[in-house]
Each structure stands twice: as structure tokens, then as C-alpha cells.
Symmetry: C2
Subunit: 233 residues, 2 copies
């Protein structure tokens, strides 16, 4: 029974996600859905990313949490447009569904943005199942979480277009085999780019930024022929 | 609509959980539901716990994962009876529901056990909503996850009877305020005992073991008048 209900919920969500996709396309906006376990460093990664990309790329962020506006507050100091979704008003949802993104995106205002990043609820399971109309998905795995997570939570890594292996500054203090972690990611998703970095120190950030810049450029090139990120007005 | 469906699913689960409770009571068994984010160190904590409690306390473990038997394999070497639930056969469920526990407990065989520990799916959200017929719940938070997690995922800490603050051996290398983390836990759940420890080094394990021994003793005292844990046959 549960599986049947879930199928219905996911189908309904997909219809709403398609509406979001049309809305984002209209605004020439590249949308990235960032997902991870709680405490993997999504917000710290985003702080670094926003500081590096702006103002050349105009970034907005939708932050999902069950409670608190902590992450939105941290991100707002970068100068990016930020809005918060607290799912405790919607039954404490464990993921962001497409209709919530629609409301949040319209509240944020997408007319003057090149890139919209959605920081999803900290959860390595459910968010992987819910399309929000995004162009790409990135999963963040912290080196403190163990090498086997891609094998134990394969769907999250299968649906992601890129992975960040975060907190590499802690490697000297952990029994963590980073090659094995990358191998496990490639096992469940061959060809997926993996960016090893420390959002805390900034080490290894550049390849990730290049990947993201390229994605924004491709999206804008596809739709307007004008590459806003290289020719900011 | 989603909230209404969820309410129905939770009500049905509660009925099944009550059946589990009767079954566990019949066998004089103390049942602990262990929950956390992925990679907080639940399995390492359990390995240490089993080695310390057995053979005085006879422990069985039900391990929940979406995929792999990695954790069950690690726990089996302690000599405990272990069985694995892989939820990918059930739609990749993000939590363990009561009927799955019923099947696993009967497969494991509870007649010769004093303590049954359920290692839930790594997820700080959904497992908190599903009663499995347990006597107590413990949440594990790793110091690598940040101090604000109790505020961001309050339900998990509200429904837990004890918390483990794990990986304290990493504190020298992190910007983590352990007093603030404990304060945040007490804010959402006043009076909840918090055990700071390192499952890796064994530091701080004893108060946790004492708490668990006491719980098993109380359950057995309530039902049989015989304290198996202090008078192993």
C-alpha cells in the first residue's frame, strides 16, 4: 500500500516539477539541487561558492530546513538573495517537493538571477526521489561519514550529476580511504565528476567552481545566446 | 493530501508497533531503537557496546540499511546474533517500520535474548516518526555534524530517551562547541541524558553502558523478578 501511495505522490510531484522547469527556462536560469546528510557542510560549501561566483554570476538560494533559519542567515551575509523554506509547517517533511520550490522561487524573484541553488533538507534518502525541476543535482559527502555511503545510499549518487567530497582537511585525523570513497561513487554512477575539497580552508574549490560556471554558461548559451556570466551588465 | 496519507500510514504503523511491544514483553526483552544521520558512528558504537555487554547481557541486533550487509557483517564478528533488513526490496524505505521489525525479530529469534538493538536507517528525519514497539530510543550525533542539528531536527531529539555525542576524539581538529551542542539538545529535550564518547577510542563509553545495563535490568525486574544481567545462568 505504501509503495502505491508513494508512486502517486511522486507522479504528482513530477507534474509540478515540469511546471517549475518551464518557469526556470523562461528566466534562463540554471537550477542546482544540492543534497547531503545533515552536517556534511552544504552551507559552508555554498558560502564559499557564492563568494567566488558573485557578482559575475548572479546567484539566489532557496534553503530547506525542517526548523530554524540558521543556514539562510549564514548565506545572506554573502549578499546573495536567499529565502528559507521550513517544512515543519508542512508536517516536518524530509525533502523539498516541487510545489514548495515554486512558491519559494516566486517569493525570491528569479528575473535578475543566473543561477538558483536549492540547499535541500539534510537527508541522504528522500530528497533523491523528488524532482524539483532542477537542471542538475550535486551530492555532498563528508569524509567523516565513511567510504561506504555511496553503496548504502546508491539512489542519491545515481541521480546526482556531480559529487563533492568535503572536509578533506580532516583526512589526517581519520581512517578514511578517499580513493575507495571515490571508487564507490564511480561504481554506482560511472563517469560522475567528484570534487574533493575543504569548504573550510578553500582547498580544491576551483574545479567545482569551473564545473558550475560551465553549467550556467551552457544553460544561458542554449536559451539566449548571451553568456551573462562572462559579460555581466 | 500528503499530510493526511502520512497520518494514515503512521496510525497503521502504531497498531503494528503495539503488536511488537506485546511480543517483546512476552520475551522479557528490552528493545532499543538507535537512530542518527548516515556516518555518525552507530555501527562502531554498537561494536563497542556489544563487546562490553556480552556475554552477561545477551544481545541481538537488527540492522537496517537500504542496501549492503556491511554493518551486519561488522557486528556479527562480535558474536551477537545479527539480522539485516535491506529496504531496497520495499521501495528503498527511509526508515524501519514496525512490520519489518516483526519479521526480522522472529527471524532472529528472541527467546534467548535480554536486549535487542535496532540500528535504524541513517536518517535524522523519518525514523523519528515510526514507532517500532521499542522500549527506548537513542540518537547518535557526531561532533563533525555541527552544534545546531538538535535545533534543526528537533523531533529526533524530542523522541529520544538518550543521546550519544560521538567522535569526541576529533574535537581538537574541529570548530565544534560541545557545550553548545549539549545545550541545544537539552533545549529541545530537557532532562535527556547525553553521553559524550568516542566509539573509536572507547573514551567516555562507561556511563552509556551503565545506562543501558540499568534499562535492561529495570525491564527484566518489571516482568520476571529475575535480573538476568546480574545473574547470568
Amino acid at each position: 500500500m505504501e509503495i502505491k501511495i508513494r508512486k502517486q505522490v511522486l507522479e504528482k510531484n513530477l507534474t509540478e516539477a515540469d511546471k517549475n522547469r518551464s518557469y526556470f527556462k523562461k528566466h534562463n536560469l540554471f537550477v542546482l539541487n544540492m543534497m547531503s546528510s545533515p552536517g556534511s557542510g552544504k552551507t559552508e560549501t555554498l558560502c564559499r561558492t557564492l563568494k567566488s561566483l558573485m557578482p559575475d554570476i548572479r546567484v539566489g538560494v532557496i534553503v530547506g530546513d525542517i526548523c530554524t533559519t540558521n543556514d539562510a542567515d549564514r548565506l545572506a551575509v554573502t549578499g546573495a538573495k536567499v529565502t528559507q523554506i521550513n517544512t515543519d509547517q508542512f508536517g516536518g517533511d524530509c525533502h523539498l517537493a516541487a510545489p514548495l520550490i515554486d512558491t519559494a522561487a516566486r517569493k525570491l524573484g528569479c528575473e535578475d538571477l543566473d543561477l538558483l541553488i536549492v540547499e535541500n533538507i539534510g537527508n541522504l534518502v528522500c530528497p533523491a526521489e523528488f524532482d524539483i525541476g532542477e537542471d542538475a543535482r550535486a551530492v555532498v559527502l563528508s569524509v567523516t561519514e565513511g567510504e561506504d555511503k555511496p553503496l548504502k545510499y546508491p539512489l542519491m549518487f545515481q541521480v546526482s550529476d556531480a559529487a563533492i567530497l568535503n572536509k578533506v582537511d580532516l583526512l589526517p585525523y581519520l581512517d578514511f580511504d578517499d580513493s575507495l570513497a571515490v571508487d564507490n561513487m564511480k561504481k554506482v554512477h560511472p563517469g560522475m565528476p567528484v570534487f574533493a575539497m575543504s569548504a573550510k580552508t578553500g582547498e580544491g574549490l576551483d574545479p567545482w567552481l569551473d564545473w558550475l560556471r560551465q553549467k550556467v554558461k551552457e544553460k544561458q548559451g542554449n536559451h539566449s545566446g548571451v553568456v551573462k556570466s562572462e559579460n555581466p551588465s
